[in-house]
Amino acid sequence: MKVNISPDVEKRLAEIRADAAPRSPTVRVLAAYANHADCNLAALGFAARVDFDKLLEGTPYQVQFGQSPFAFSRGIAFERMVSARDYAETLNLLRTTMGFKIEDARTQDLRAKYQSQRLSMGLRANETREIIRQILLGRPTSYNLVGGAVLEANIGGISARFEADALAARFGGPIHAGEVKSFPVVDGRADPDKLSAALDQVSIYILLMRRLVDELGGDPDLVSRIALLITPTNVGLKPTMSQKDVGTRVARSERLLASVPDVTDIARSVPSSLTFNVVADQRADPGRRADELHKIADSIGTSYTPTCLSTCGNAFFCRERAFRSGSPCLTGPQSSRLLPGISSLNRAAALSGGAPPALNEAPVAPLLARAGRLYDAATKNSRFKSSSQKVAV
């Protein structure tokens, strides 16, 4: 995989990152990035490979995204189950739902083959490439069910490797990407958000596989847009296979990858003194660390929305910034939408009390004033005033 970052840019990025905990792009990081693609701080963190989930550890802004070990072990147990005995369960599902033949049972578990996760990624990527090549050549001996395949991508100039749970191809048929998830399908229904996240993940594999096939001189359409998903059924762990056409998700992923700004551009656009060294320094005074991050945020800009709370490690920090400036985004994008031309919640409250509007506030001001007037009139005669203390005897 060709990656074209010049050494000085790499050096600059290292300076920016300093001793902050690093992280490289994974499907999850990429999905989180897509949620706040309009935030410069997030873009910088992504480019400099700073793990924002850990950046503010030891400060009051620390966010806890920890995963339950039980959730983790459920995932592992289920995955182990579908890959056990040379993927017997999976092959069975492929036969019953995808029309695989008995002889389509040439399995290869790359994860098992290369024990060490981190170091083996490159080797597995090569091997994945070779297997795909064999399939494209129509070799009857090529593997047709591959676990832990590794696909490579250049994301905004950063080289990244993604690990697909399974690639499967019926002999002479299209190549599918599949994912094993431990959330259940109950009576034909799955959690729409979890399902969506899983399919987005598969769609990235499909996209990268299409690129790989293209690179190898094959027809990208040999990679199916039907994603395969293996999940437990109902209340037990019995696996089931669902098929979903993810054509639009693949297209969306393509837009996502294309929209990631180039790290070189980012490295050059930020002030030359900018670095996360103090922010990430756990020995430094938490107040000072926050001040430093404020300086960075001030100089490049952020874009807080409440959805950041579940996807970004800096969310509490940014929320407090929004709080202190009274930004309408604090109460959600809907309220920003209802307050065009109003610079702050304080101002909205003042206008609801009849403050004279400036020119730009003129369209919304009468609506706020009316809402405020109606509220005040309705509560005036009531013994229940707006404040809670009156009730909490």
């Binding site: 995963q67 459920r74 109950v186 037990g236 709370l309 959600g332």
Partner: protein, 487 residues
Amino acid sequence: MKQLDVTLAARSFVEGRAIRTTLFRHRRLGDEPLMLVLWQLGAEPFSLAAASFGRSPRDQNFVVAGDPRNRDLAFAALLKMATWFNGHFEAPSADREEFEHWGQILTRSRSAPQIVVANGSTIEMLGRLGRRLAYLRTDGPKAAPLELVRFGRHLLFLSSHARMPGQQIVIALTELVGSNWATGQSPEERLSLAALNAYISPSKSHAFYEAMKSERYAIGPVPSGEDDENLEPLVEAFNQRRSGDVSAKVVAPLLKPIEDHYRRLVGRTWRLAWDCYERETKWPEAPSVGRRWDLDREAYTQHIDWTMGIGRRRTRQTPRQAAILLRRLEEAKATLEAEEACDDALRMIPYLLDGKAIQGRVIQLDLNNRELANTRMVRRPLVVISSPDPCLMPCGKELWWSVNPDGKSYEVTQVRADEDGGSIVTLKLTTSSKSTPMPRVGQEVCFSIHTTGTVRFFKLPPTEPWTHRPEAPVAEPVALEDSEIRS
């Protein structure tokens, strides 16, 4: 989110306190509800790890499963809860009254149980547990206790009844409290009962900081990653010590560390939930609550009669059931909105702002206005009101007087703007009946699109039409616990 919501959110932000959005309480809140606090294990969706239940803050029962991934341990804990729950849940059904429904005399329970939980995800958890328990086999090698199956069926009823707008049998406190208080928070943050409560309960500093402290705690049923990290070694030790034994005699003495872990978590939510519940009970009940409670009692009675009789429900609806439910949900929602708006002046404000209602003072009344209808002159009284607000309603718009929303409608016949940005609106009563109540001159009135008059249901044929039947019939889903593997 509407203009009133954003206005009150801004005021709440400035005051640093929540702001009340209703004058009344629009749900029945009984004296002794069944409070349930549940905790699950990580992403194990069907595992009840710990629970508290009781009918008052002091009456806190507490169970833990030890390791709920083990069926026997999970069921042992669930059985304790089921026994308690079934007794209290089924008791009200014994005391019945008769009532008339479309000419038929039916019976319904005089009262119904009320279940209170912290949040919507607890209701989802109830649904999942119900799904797990309701279809268990009560005979054969791994027979489950009947008590558990009945518990499961009640839970399934609760989770499906919870979808009905305005129902009062299952109360999720985030929804109850959230709909009564505006805060300077985003909808996402308001999902945490603790954070929401932090805005309402009195404090010295800005509620933003109070909420920031509270939101870090999990409310259940989904645990925080950190909590489960602390729990994991305890469960491991527990499993090691019991070495496969699931008998109460062996297990009970080993549970202590796990109980201590959960007692803290569950106890925090327990106190929080009761605080929130009791605070809301202090508000006066809205007039229409009683009518909806009647519907709740009927739904409850039907459920009990079904469960004690045939008992089994499909895991999925038929197209007909889904179609009927859709209409009922739409209807219930419209009626609920109408009742709340007509009961409560604060609830009417969004409609006033949206041009779906107009309020003002009656300045003129013409009770003897007559007009030509088909061939004869009929009486059509006119009401003229002066409103301080502009009115964008078109002529011909149908409105109801908010004190008589199930009565006859009025039609907007003329709208004039006055000098101060307000409006003069003439409304015509669409009936000549003299029994219809009319406002007086000088009275402050409100007319809105809201009506609670009888709604008509379109009936659906009893048999499934060929269009909605698959060519090749699919197998009925039977997925039952004992047909599935579980390590």
